[in-house]
Symmetry: C2
Subunit: 313 residues, 2 copies
């Protein structure tokens, strides 16, 4: 099995109430691929500039991520984002965005990339997402993320892109904005009516909810005493989710399989925020993932029972 | 077993995007006692005026709620609240508050009320909560709710009241405000350091989280396509929670018992919001409660498993 991600590769400068980093590896495709690499073979497509060196490639290669399709733009500079978080760590404040080589990005897929079983279209312009989708005709599971910018400026394109995928992973506020439905259940149904058969509403510290035509499944956020840097958590969630799904193969998209995918997504997102950038995921072990999976299971576990309720009057 | 609630009894005028009611039975003690009445014997303490008639008493009596300690203030009028909700049903907008007889309320407990096993101090002025707590010395489980008004105007009194109870049920934003801790896990720990050994953070549509010194348990909100009127949902949650706890007796405060209490609280709150005021809970049946309990259980259920994760590189 193998999984392709197309998205941003970046340098991030981040300040939170718990510290700051002036320049660290980031971008949706990076966070996604590191998380997914615990489950399956991952290939990254995205542009970088001359400032992206061996040290950065090594972070990806150390986790077995295939970097051959990373496009090096001669004379260019890598996408740069500067932002900060105040005490409400759910809200990122952008201080500076330099698109650089990402501004002219036209995804070019190698033959190996075109034939992966699973694809994640990270948060990029929706016309590009659709363009990538059309190059991966044989993919069996395709997921997509997006953001308020594209809902505001390219809503029709985004609806087309959504119509071409199996799975949408977006923040709950963005799902409401996209569908103009204040009720999340209805918003998720409207997105499924566009084509996808799975919708994941990411809810920050409140966890995540999964909607399919038949089922609903939700997990709370992991109760962390210290969230150091939430940057990339949504992409780590998507990486855990799609990485696990790809590892089991699309023959088994049973209810328990997608629930486990939700849980691995939650596990990877919860580790992501424990340190700055990719620091925690780089140091993560399989044992830690399995232990936290079991913690999530026990945290929501309820024994079956039907009590005899008291009659009225 | 028996359960006492001290709080407001009110008439509510409510407008939501789905309709309006000009005058309906409400108040924290009413919502709480109707919900709790499915599990145990409930007694209500709270003041009413001349406008509170047999029709209102009958709503409580029909569910077996003991109304002997409702204090009828001759010549007075019952507490009145007028409010509305826009499409964000998490936020109540108050248009009018007439405290009436509730403004001079001094809780007087009968001997029967003083000897109940469980007590809920609904959202009233914290000095009154403490005064009631001291009259119920033999109670084994005492819960408390509060609100931003008391955090702002009577913080020290509220901390004293909290120090005298076993269980705090508050909105997560209020727990953060009370402790000035943006992180919910730390906020809950700080509240436990004041005395209570259980803290429930109510999270509106996101569900609720339970903190004890040893454990964490969380449930998502029930995925409703139509939330008609959220008024009273928090009190119905508390009623289901404490009603169930009282019914099993405080000898069995095992982990699974408090998880079931959380679930019954979530069940009752989810029914509360399906119609205006007390309408849905008045029509509720034991079968519906048991079926939704099982839905909550399945909605978060995850089979145990440890997969062989892929090695890096």
């Amino acid at each position: 099995m193998s999984l392709l991600v197309v998205g941003s590769i970046a340098f991030d400068a981040v300040r939170t109430p718990f510290g700051e980093r002036e320049r660290m590896l980031g971008g949706s495709a990076v966070h996604f691929s590191l998380a997914a690499s615990f489950f399956t073979d991952v290939r990254v497509v995205g542009p970088v500039g001359d400032d992206f060196g061996e040290a950065e490639y090594d972070v990806l290669r150390a986790r077995g991520v295939e970097t051959a399709d990373i496009e090096h733009v001669e004379g260019g500079r890598t996408f740069f984002w500067r932002g900060h978080y105040d005490y409400d760590l759910n809200v990122a404040h952008t201080d500076d965005t330099q698109l650089n080589v990402f501004g002219d990005f036209q995804p070019k897929l190698s033959e190996d990339s075109k034939t992966t079983e699973s694809v994640f279209l990270a948060n990029i312009q929706p016309d590009l997402q659709l363009q990538v989708r059309r190059q991966c005709e044989s993919a069996r599971t395709v997921g997509l993320d997006s953001m308020n910018l594209w809902i505001e400026t390219a809503r029709d394109s985004l609806r087309h892109a959504i119509g071409s995928v199996d799975l949408v992973l977006m923040n709950d506020a963005e799902l409401r904005m996209l569908t103009e439905q204040p009720n999340l259940v209805r918003a998720a149904r409207e997105v499924m009516a566009m084509g996808p058969h799975m919708v994941v509403a990411k809810q920050g510290e409140y966890g995540a909810a999964l909607f399919t035509p038949e089922a609903f499944f939700a997990l709370p956020g992991y109760p962390l005493e210290a969230v150091i840097d939430p940057t990339g958590a949504g992409d780590s969630f998507a990486g855990g989710f799609l990485g696990y799904l790809d590892s089991v193969g699309s023959e088994d998209l049973s209810d328990q399989t997608v629930r486990r995918a939700m849980t691995y997504g939650s596990v990877l997102a919860s580790f992501n925020v424990e340190q700055f950038g990719t620091e925690r995921i780089q140091a993560l072990t399989e044992g830690e993932i399995n232990r936290r999976f079991e913690e999530f299971r026990l945290m929501t576990h309820l024994d079956a029972q039907t009590v005899e309720l008291r009659s009225a009057g």
